[in-house]
């Protein structure tokens, strides 16, 4: 196996992995404020992609305008989901909340199918599709977009959590919601905020990935699954672990497809994940004491 192939596998894996990482990031933020895995996270990613396609293709909006609009629309959906489905049942066991998010994901997927049909759609890459050749391996310009925006999102989150009052309040909620509410933090508002932020991250991910991965109403299932795996791999609750987990998962799959067998690439990735969990029961960068369901 020559080095340009290996490089190609790595690049492919990292691009693929960033899709997982972005989904995982959204999982983490909601998990931190609610302790719940939001099964509808993949649907947020799908919504971002489908909305931008709808805006560009049907309404004829230009891409630079469609991106913030689609992100805003998804953020609004996230807020609605929290207000209508999550807030009314606060205080219920988290398994109930998880089932509700499953219901929400089915509902969103169904509505997307009704409104936008069952077809797959694609967006033109933001800056052409002439690949950049590096040491014999091809990199798509869109991959740079994905990489840059992921880094911007991560940095933005980091700044949000460490500099703004809202961010610190959210962090406080994740450590101890009861204590946070005692010092006057509106926990409900923080949960709402977390849904909006993770919907936003999901949507942005969905939009910038559509030129690479295409999009359709049922794109969310697979992304949600891989995103969850990435979260666990990195250690639940750690945003940087989630991003890293996504990249690792992507590279594992790509190397698996390249060197072992494309049919078993997912199985290989999951076997590595299982072995890792057995050795390190709370993920690569997780805290030692795992929360209970």
């Amino acid at each position: 196996m020559d080095s340009s192939s290996l490089l190609q596998y790595l690049i492919t894996g990292l691009t693929l992995g960033s899709t997982y990482g972005l989904t995982a990031l959204g999982f983490t933020i909601i998990f931190n404020t609610t302790g719940v895995i939001n099964f509808a996270q993949g649907e947020f990613v799908m919504l971002g992609g489908m909305m931008s396609v709808f805006l560009v293709r049907v309404l004829g909006v230009t891409v630079p305008l469609a991106v913030p609009l689609a992100a805003l629309g998804t953020m609004l959906t996230g807020a609605l989901v929290e207000r209508l489905a999550i807030r009314p049942v606060r205080g219920c066991p988290s398994i109930n909340l998880v089932i509700i998010t499953i219901g929400v994901s089915i509902l969103i997927r169904g509505l997307a199918m009704l409104f936008w049909g069952k077809d797959t759609h694609v967006l033109e890459p933001f800056s052409g599709d002439q690949p950049v050749m590096v040491l014999g391996a091809a990199i798509m310009p869109q991959a740079f977009w994905v990489l840059a925006i992921s880094v911007i999102l991560l940095t933005g989150l980091k700044l949000f959590f460490s500099l703004t009052t809202q961010g610190k309040a959210m962090l406080a909620c994740s450590f101890d919601p009861k204590a946070a509410s005692l010092v006057g933090i509106g926990v409900q508002r923080m949960v709402m905020l977390s849904f909006m932020i993770s919907a936003l991250i999901g949507a942005v991910g969905g939009i910038i990935l559509t030129p690479i991965t295409m999009t359709s109403y049922d794109k969310g299932i697979m992304l949600g699954l891989k995103g969850f795996a990435a979260c666990i791999l990195g250690g639940l609750g750690n945003p940087f672990g989630a991003a890293a987990g996504g990249l690792i998962l992507g590279v594992l799959e790509s190397l698996g497809a390249g060197f072992v067998s494309s049919a078993y690439k997912d199985a290989l990735a999951f076997i590595v994940l299982l072995i890792l969990l057995f050795v390190k029961p709370s993920g690569l960068f997780g805290q030692k004491d795992a929360k209970r369901v």
Partner: protein, 323 residues
């Protein structure tokens, strides 16, 4: 007072007797085989739900891998009986035994994990299995399915009609419910509930938590595998799509919808989730949306599931009668 414990057991047995009678009488109200097919599938799904009620509801250990056990047993029995020509009964037993052994191997390391990590481990295992079902085309027939599986037979007697299969499924389901009630009303059931609340305290009271977690994991896997072999030989066709991770999620939905800790509730949950789409069929494309909405509304207004809702309704009715 002295027999208070037996009273609870007797009440459950009474319920079981009623349920069994209902299952036996149901076919007489069924105008044709279509309804019988639905009921058979309901029964098969309820078997998983009963096992998972013990595992998830009582012991508090989540599993998203039971669709894998379901498929493993189905494929094993299908392969042995169809490809290798073994007797159906023997293949079914082999399918269950193999699955139980595998679940033992999976459970041993996985059950040390907690919460979402356990969910991920079992989920990962389920996905690995479903990839195997899809990719080992020579053994499983691959994505387009395993064809020509012989029909169910018991002691060499082939069950040619749906009604016979239905009765077999009903009897097996009731046996499982009986076993589950026995477990729940014994020291094992107590130990499971104890370790659900506090693993520390359970250990301090001498409960070998690893062993009991494994016991209930394997028991529920056994229920799923029995459902799997019955499914394979009833339908005489199996395909990997039936055993994907979405089915595992659906199983958990059944249990939670049923009220987590109630065995009858889980059965009702399984029937509900299986029958609902058939009723919604008339709505065509809107069906999926309605299913999602009903699921959300159920969880919002019946936080303790269908069983909890039923109990509340019943006690309100009793109060009304008393007044």
């Amino acid at each position: 007072m002295q027999n208070g414990y037996n009273v609870a057991y007797r009440r459950d047995m009474f319920w079981l007797a009623g349920f069994f009678t209902l299952l036996m009488l149901a076919p007489f109200c069924m105008p044709n085989n279509y309804y019988l097919t639905i009921l058979i599938l309901c029964g098969l799904h309820a078997m998983h739900a009963v096992g998972l009620c013990l595992l998830v509801g009582h012991a508090g250990q989540i599993s998203l891998g039971h669709a894998g056990f379901y498929g493993l047993a189905a494929y094993t029995s299908a392969y042995l009986s169809t490809t290798l020509g073994l007797a159906v009964g023997l293949s079914m037993v082999a399918g269950v035994v193999l699955t139980v052994l595998i679940s033992l191997l999976v459970g041993l390391p996985s059950l040390k994990l907690k919460g979402h990590y356990l969910a991920m481990a079992t989920l990962g295992f389920g996905i690995i299995l479903s990839i195997l079902f899809t990719e080992t085309v020579d053994i499983t027939g691959g994505p387009s399915g395993f064809v020509g599986i012989p029909r169910l037979s018991i002691l060499g007697q082939e069950l040619t009609t749906d009604i016979a299969v239905y009765r077999a499924v009903a009897v097996v389901l009731c046996l499982m419910v009986w076993l589950s009630f026995n477990v729940l009303h014994s020291r094992i059931g107590r130990a499971l509930r104890a370790l659900h609340t506090s693993e520390k305290a359970a250990q301090a009271m001498g409960v070998d938590i690893a062993r009991f977690k494994l016991f209930v994991f394997v028991l529920s896997a056994a229920f799923s595998s029995i459902s799997g072999v019955l499914y394979a030989h009833y339908l005489t066709f199996i395909a990997p799509v039936s055993f994907g991770f979405m089915f595992s999620v659906e199983l958990i939905v059944m249990v939670v919808l049923g009220g987590m800790v109630s065995v009858p509730g889980s059965i009702v949950g399984a029937f509900f989730v299986t029958i609902l789409p058939e009723f919604l069929r008339a709505f065509e494309n809107v069906e999926v949306v309605l299913f999602g909405a009903i699921l959300i509304l159920c969880m919002m207004f019946l936080p303790d599931g269908l069983a909890g809702g039923w109990n509340r309704l019943w006690s309100r009715f009793r109060r009304a009668v008393h007044e």
